[in-house]
């Protein structure tokens, strides 16, 4: 068998693979081939090595694993003949990269081949070294490569030069060794050597300032002369590309001159003439010529100033920009972006053309043009430019809208000359592409609107009109809802109407209609719905005549499956129905949001998801509630902070009821005080601020309407968390809703109604960051059943998200796990997650409870898993 006739069999394999009709079939063929190759490798048969590797390379290209062939490459490289080495090196470059340790084994073979008498073998070794060498290999083999820079054959010299580029990029310390040999290369006539030598020179200048100084002093004139010779050389068929002699050499020379001229007036001066010549004489009807002009412009822009040349360069770019070839226009935009730092006036002259490019059908060009327009905007041209861009927003491709919207918003925020213009522009963007707008942008718009007190009416009326037309834009809708809630009366009475504004007649009913229809739209998301509810609450106080209707709308959400909406609906409902006296102060307008705080926070890395509420915490009028935790950072909290500080303890509870975690912990003793004085906490809670006599009948009513939902439980659970878990929890018979309420309220007085024994609470699990407390109680009349209220507290400084608690019990126990109250656990023990467990012990009295638990959550985006066993249950469960 001829060892080199592998071609036929390789062909057969390729044919077989190409004949496969399905991916599975292809996998089958490849699997079979790989098996055969492995077998052949393990036989260590040198005759087939060559062919095996060729096959493996093809298989590798198809994306299959071929690591088992790596050692074969090394064997082929180590064999003496040229054909084996040729395919061995090819395989090495294809199957391995610099990060594989196997590569180190080849260092010695490469070293021998670099000293081989056959120049083609030297060439193979240089090529492999240049393409995949690691820093270690570079260090080991640098002397060989350096020597080869003076090899007799120019084809080896050019390979050695490119190999040196890789070496100095991997190990910049080695740069100085190459400076002298490179200076010699720059004087050569062979184009291949010149091209590679010039490239190496440019790279040396980048890694070493000494090299830069040296070449600048010794070689600038020489390189200028080489460029002159190339530019003026007569027709040479070998290097000619569309009438230009060796554009590749041209471009590399221009590149290195740029490096040498940058920051040095003398060097720049010495190259002015040739640059002017190249810029004026180069033919620009073919790509090769344009490539040279492009490089030349860049060099002119980067070397030290010469007014005349720069005008020339900008003119070339202007010509490029009006070219019909998309490639040329693309590079023109690209270069103008760099030219803007040098001469922004000259670039401004091309503004109209650039704006046209934003509307191009080619996404690459559009993106470049948009980036450029963004840089061109200043105070004087912001209005026309923004107008153009927003008009284009209407017709642009959906995939471009995101970019375009972000840029317009950024321009408007940065350069807006007046607030009304800002509001107008943002409204246009929101109506056109509101779904592409980031949260912080519409938050900023709200901040601006609150600060423009003379424009409140204008803003709310414009938003009202806009939202009628573009209902599907979520962010527009949110801003509109917020403003209607805040400034609803201005919508109706045309307060502060501006001269240019069209008179509009909006009735109170219209305003409520907008909210009512919107909240019911299926696409309306949770945040928007929640905002609608707040706006409705506010309107109920602004428009007393609509109060009943609003109450009905809100009432529909009392049965919502979404906890957030249900809770809000129930709370607002009770405010509207029972607390007329404080509703107006609760629904008062928000204080002006502080722009400085908001923009400062945006500049910092605070996640944008937290809404504007944090920004306002500084200038709260009453200062009673410090928003340090901002657990429920929504607008509801803000509206509550707005309310005058309540003085009665009932009022405090109201705040707790609505803003749950806003209350400082210090209020807890008060609550306990109230309890000790004998008043019923529960009644107090539910009969917010009304005389006890009236509250009694209302309590059962509230309770009965809530028996099938967990909302009150939740409120109480969360209320209870800041205080330490108390030792005794009573259980009351029958009504499970009542039971839940009391369980969730650890500060309630210990009662002994005799309905079954009371049990203590147990710290079931405690780690450095997390504590789990079980409050244990028994179901009366069912000794086997144990009720456990698990409460999780986060002791660390980071919020836990995606919190999941799992538990497992032995066979004699039956475990029922209710859904948890949430999956986010605030930091520093500021709140907790509660979860109810029900355990039935079939061996009651014989065996004690035992449980394995597993808790998983995310903290700082890292998954954490904690596990443990709970065996410290009281014995008689």
């Amino acid at each position: 068998m001829n060892p080199f006739s592998s071609g036929t069999r390789l062909r057969d394999m390729i044919r077989a693979i190409r004949a496969c009709k399905t991916a599975a079939e292809e996998r089958g063929v490849v699997r079979k081939e790989c098996a055969a190759i492995r077998a052949s490798i393990s036989e260590n048969d040198p005759d087939y090595r060559h062919r095996n590797l060729a096959k493996l390379m093809f298989i590798h290209m198809l994306g299959y694993p071929t690591h088992f062939g790596q050692m074969e490459c090394l064997k082929l490289i180590a064999s003496p003949g040229f054909p084996e080495k040729r395919i061995g090196y090819l395989g090495l470059m294809l199957l391995l990269d610099e990060r594989q340790e196997v590569l180190m084994l080849v260092t010695n073979s490469i070293k021998q081949d670099l000293n081989h008498t056959n120049q083609y073998i030297v060439g193979l070794a240089l090529c492999a070294l240049g393409n995949i060498c690691s820093a270690e290999m570079a260090r080991d083999l640098a002397p060989e490569v350096e020597r080869l820079l003076q090899f007799r054959d120019p084809n080896i010299r050019k390979k050695a030069a490119l190999c040196s580029i890789r070496i100095i990029k991997k190990v910049p310390d080695l740069a100085e060794n190459f400076v002298n040999p490179v200076a010699a290369l720059l004087k050569e006539k062979h184009h291949g050597v010149l091209i590679t030598g010039v490239q190496l020179c440019a790279d040396l200048c980048k890694v070493s300032t000494e090299a830069l100084e040296y070449f600048r002093k010794k070689c600038t004139d020489g390189l200028v002369k080489v460029l002159k010779d190339v530019a003026n050389s007569p027709y040479a068929p070998e290097y000619d590309i569309s009438g230009i002699s060796d554009p590749f050499l041209h471009i590399r020379l221009l590149k290195v001159l740029r490096v040498l001229g940058q920051g040095d007036a003398d060097a720049s001066d010495s190259m002015n003439d040739i640059l002017a010549q190249v810029a004026t004489k180069t033919e620009s009807n073919k790509n090769a010529g344009n490539a040279i002009l492009y490089e030349c412009v860049e060099t002119i822009m980067n070397i030290e100033d010469n007014g005349g040349l720069r005008v020339l360069a900008i003119n070339i770019l202007g010509r490029f920009l009006s070219n019909r070839d998309n490639n040329i226009r693309y590079v023109a935009l690209n270069m103008l972006m760099r030219a803007i730092a040098v001469d922004s006036k000259a670039v401004q002259r091309h503004r109209a053309t650039i704006l046209e490019c934003v509307k191009d059908s080619d996404p690459s060009i559009r993106k470049r043009a948009l980036d450029l327009v963004y840089l061109l905007v200043n105070e004087t041209n912001v209005k026309p430019l923004t107008k153009e861009l927003t008009e284009h927003l209407e017709v642009s491709d959906p995939e471009f809208k995101g970019d375009l919207t972000a840029k317009i918003c950024s321009i408007v925020e940065k350069f807006s000359p007046e607030k009304i213009w800002y509001i107008d522009q943002m409204l246009k963007v929101l109506s056109e592409a509101g779904n592409y707008v980031k949260d912080e942008v519409w938050h900023a718009l709200i901040v601006v609107i609150t600060n423009a007190s003379d424009l409140h009416g204008y803003a709310v009326r414009s938003l009202y009109r806009a939202v009628q037309k573009a209902r599907d834009q979520e962010t527009l809708f949110r801003v509109a809802v917020w403003c209607i809630g805040e400034y609803g009366e201005m919508l109706v009475n045309n307060f502060g109407r501006l001269d240019m504004e069209e008179p509009a007649t909006v009735t109170e009913l219209d305003a409520v209609d907008v909210l009512e229809t919107s909240i019911k739209i299926h696409s309306c998301d949770l945040t928007s719905q929640a905002m609608c509810l707040i706006a409705l609450l506010k309107l109920s106080s602004r428009f007393p005549s609509c109060s009943q209707r609003i109450n009905n709308i809100i009432g529909q959400y009392k049965g919502s499956f979404v906890l957030e909406l249900q809770q809000r609906a129930i709370e607002f409902n009770s405010i509207i129905e029972r607390h007329q006296n404080m509703r107006s102060s609760l629904a008062e307008r928000m204080p002006v949001l502080d722009e400085a705080t908001f923009s400062g926070r945006r500049a910092g890395s605070v996640p944008a998801a937290v809404s504007t509420s944090q920004g306002v915490s500084v200038n709260l009028p009453n200062g009673s509630a410090k928003l340090s935790t901002a657990h429920v950072a929504d607008l509801l909290d803000l509206s509550l902070d707005d309310a005058p500080a309540p003085s009665s303890s009932g009022g405090e509870f109201l705040q707790d009821l609505l803003g749950v975690n806003l209350m400082p912990v210090s209020l807890q003793p008060d609550a306990n005080q109230a309890q000790k004085s004998g008043s019923d906490v529960l009644l107090d809670l539910l009969s917010i601020g009304t005389p006890p006599a009236q509250s009694s009948p209302s309590t059962p009513q509230v309770l009965s309407s809530n028996t099938d939902n967990r909302s009150p439980l939740d409120i109480l659970d969360r209320l209870s968390t800041p205080s330490a878990p108390s030792a005794q929890v009573s259980s009351t018979g029958g009504n499970s809703s009542m039971l839940d309420l009391l369980n969730g309220l650890p500060s309630s007085p210990p009662t002994s109604e005799g309905n079954g024994p009371a049990h203590s609470s147990v710290t079931a699990f405690e780690s450095s960051s997390l504590r789990l407390t079980f409050n244990i109680s028994k179901q009366p009349g069912n000794p086997q059943m144990t009720l456990i209220d698990g409460s999780f507290t986060n002791k660390s400084r980071d919020v836990f998200t995606n919190f999941i608690f799992q538990a497992a019990v032995p066979k004699f126990l039956q475990l029922q796990l209710d859904p948890a109250s949430g999956n986010t656990l605030p930091a520093n023990g500021n709140g907790s997650i509660t979860q109810k467990l029900r355990i039935t012990n079939s061996q009651h009295g014989k065996k004690a409870l035992v449980m394995r638990i597993r808790i998983s959550y995310k903290v700082n985006n890292k998954d954490v898993l904690e596990e443990g066993q709970v065996s410290n249950f009281p014995r008689d469960l």
Binding site: I14, L94, Y120, E238, I241, R329, S361, K367
Partner: protein, 161 residues
Amino acid sequence: MIHFVLLISRQGKVRLTKWYSPYTQKERTKVIRELSGMILTRGPKLCNFVEWRGYKVVYKRYASLYFCMCIDQEDNELEVLEIIHHFVEILDRYFGSVCELDLIFNFHKAYYILDELVIAGELQESSKKTVARLIAAQDSLVEAAKEEASSLSNIIAQATK
């Protein structure tokens, strides 16, 4: 600097890949998938450049094959188009009006030519003639070794007859 060279057929099949910057096998597959999705879908009249992960990919279509090269932001895109064309012309001269099938069955030859053209992501030779001459010289070395081996095996065969 050229970070990698890809040849992708219109159907998205890979015909040649050469990586001058380190990418793991996983990354390579991902890169190829991403880029073929971006490039193959572009219309014929659009410019030959796409921006991708802070780099630029210059591509040009020849018959059923897309030649793609990934370069740095500050590199000269127009020149890379010339390099691609240079490569294609050399392939064309070597195979005699090259087609996709030539590159499939002689993929290693295509690699040898690329290695004479680009090393370490930089252009090595601007003369098509020189590249052709070097490849021919190395091919004849291989042929010579083949003949020598076959004559050797003939001698052995005759001696052991």
